[in-house]
């Protein structure tokens, strides 16, 4: 579907509320009820630094435990993501709904271990040992797309999906089961999802001077 151009007169000044927006990702909280072995939280902040362009920062932590018959796996760490989002839908003055894509870079610092590890042996008897803890810092790139809606003045709800491309996973043994912020490490690509509620502190008013855009009617008159 083609989106019509938004005609404006030359020299029009558009007043738009700006400011830093702080949000909380609800997915870790909802996920906890479905998979109690993982606890986590994630917060986000973003600000429009240019018309339609947003600087974004996400931070979070994960505490993951996996209990199996022969071992118990622990993973605990933090992650940080920075990037930019771009709104690709024209907006009227005062409108804060956006549909966006984005690109980001992320890293995580975490420690993981397996303790206890039981080595089964029917002949000589079982052996109980442990592995780790091992500290790691992987990096990955994220592509994102999503929407955000202003539910009430300065209160926003939004979601976005992410495709994550793991750049580097350290060689340390053992390979982690999960990387905080990235997800399960079976593949070098993972998919993520955020559902955020956020509040904007409207301390700034942006004044944007739009250049004249010729409408189709004006073209025809010529």
């Amino acid at each position: 579907m083609a989106i019509p151009a938004f005609p404006q007169e030359q020299g029009t000044k558009i007043m738009r509320y700006g400011g830093i927006r702080f949000g909380v990702d609800l997915v870790p909280f909802v996920g906890y009820f479905l998979t109690p072995q993982q606890k986590g939280a994630a917060v986000t902040a973003d600000a429009e630094f240019r018309d339609g362009w947003f600087a974004v920062i996400n931070a979070g932590y994960l505490d993951f435990n996996k209990e199996e018959a022969d071992y118990t796996y622990h993973n605990n760490g933090r992650y940080l993501k920075i990037g930019i989002n771009h709104n690709f839908v024209p907006r009227e003055p005062g409108e804060n709904e956006i549909i966006f894509w984005g690109l980001g870079f992320a890293t995580s610092v975490f420690t993981h271990s397996a303790d206890p590890v039981v080595i089964r042996n029917n002949y000589w008897g079982d052996y109980v040992t442990s592995v780790g803890p091992v500290k790691m810092r992987p990096f990955w790139v994220e592509m994102t797309a999503g929407i955000r809606v202003e539910m009430f003045r300065n209160f926003f709800m939004g979601w976005n999906v992410q495709g994550r491309f793991l750049l580097q996973l350290p060689d340390n043994e053992p390979e982690p089961y999960i990387v905080p912020g990235y997800g399960y490490t079976g593949k070098s690509f993972s998919v993520g999802f955020n559902y955020t509620l956020s509040f904007r502190i409207p301390y700034m008013i942006k004044v944007i001077e739009k250049k004249k855009k010729k409408t189709e009617e004006e073209e025809e008159e010529k």
Binding site: V27, V117, M157, E173
Partner: protein, 166 residues
């Protein structure tokens, strides 16, 4: 541009429902099963030399048991065999076995370095044994050749036990 706002709101509502279904199905997923072999044995083969020719030797009524485990034969239920799997002791850096055949006994002492390795998170961890070495008495045993110094969950042969020809 009210239409955009409405459309965005509609998409959000729809996606919220999709999210709930997604999370519920994700939470109900079953873990994949372990398809890799889990057991770790030291694989041995008995051979004799006929000139320069190496020949598998079928042993009848031979017994093998671990020292301090006289009550538990690793050859139990086997009337004849030419290959045997020795279970390494995961609690120590060595293990010893007695090989009894033709009313004569030999002792084998295996030494190694233990290391725990993650097989996969579905299968769990296994203990491997590196730098395999062996010492032995020579009543029935002529010599032992270490073919592969890594004892793992693979089926690769680790040692060949050369017996005296009778």
């Amino acid at each position: 541009m009210k239409n955009i706002k409405n459309a965005v709101s509609d998409i959000s509502t729809g996606f919220s429902l999709v999210l709930i279904v997604f999370l519920m199905t994700t939470g109900c997923q079953h873990a994949p099963k372990c398809l890799e072999p889990y057991d770790v044995y030291l694989h041995a083969r008995f051979v004799t030399l006929a000139g320069t020719q190496e020949k598998d030797t079928l042993l009848m009524n031979a017994d093998i048991y671990g020292i301090d485990r006289e009550d538990s034969l690793i050859t139990a239920g086997k009337e004849s065999f030419s290959k045997i799997d020795f279970p390494p002791d995961p609690n120590r850096d060595y293990c010893s076995f007695v090989f009894r055949y033709n009313e004569l006994s030999d002792t084998l002492v295996f030494s190694y370095l233990r290391s725990v390795r993650l097989l996969s998170y579905e299968c769990g961890f296994i203990q491997e044994y590196e730098n395999l070495g062996v010492e032995y008495t020579m009543h029935q045993i002529d010599s032992i050749a270490v073919v592969d110094t890594l004892v793992s969950n693979k089926d690769d042969e680790n040692i060949k036990i050369y017996l005296f020809r009778h």
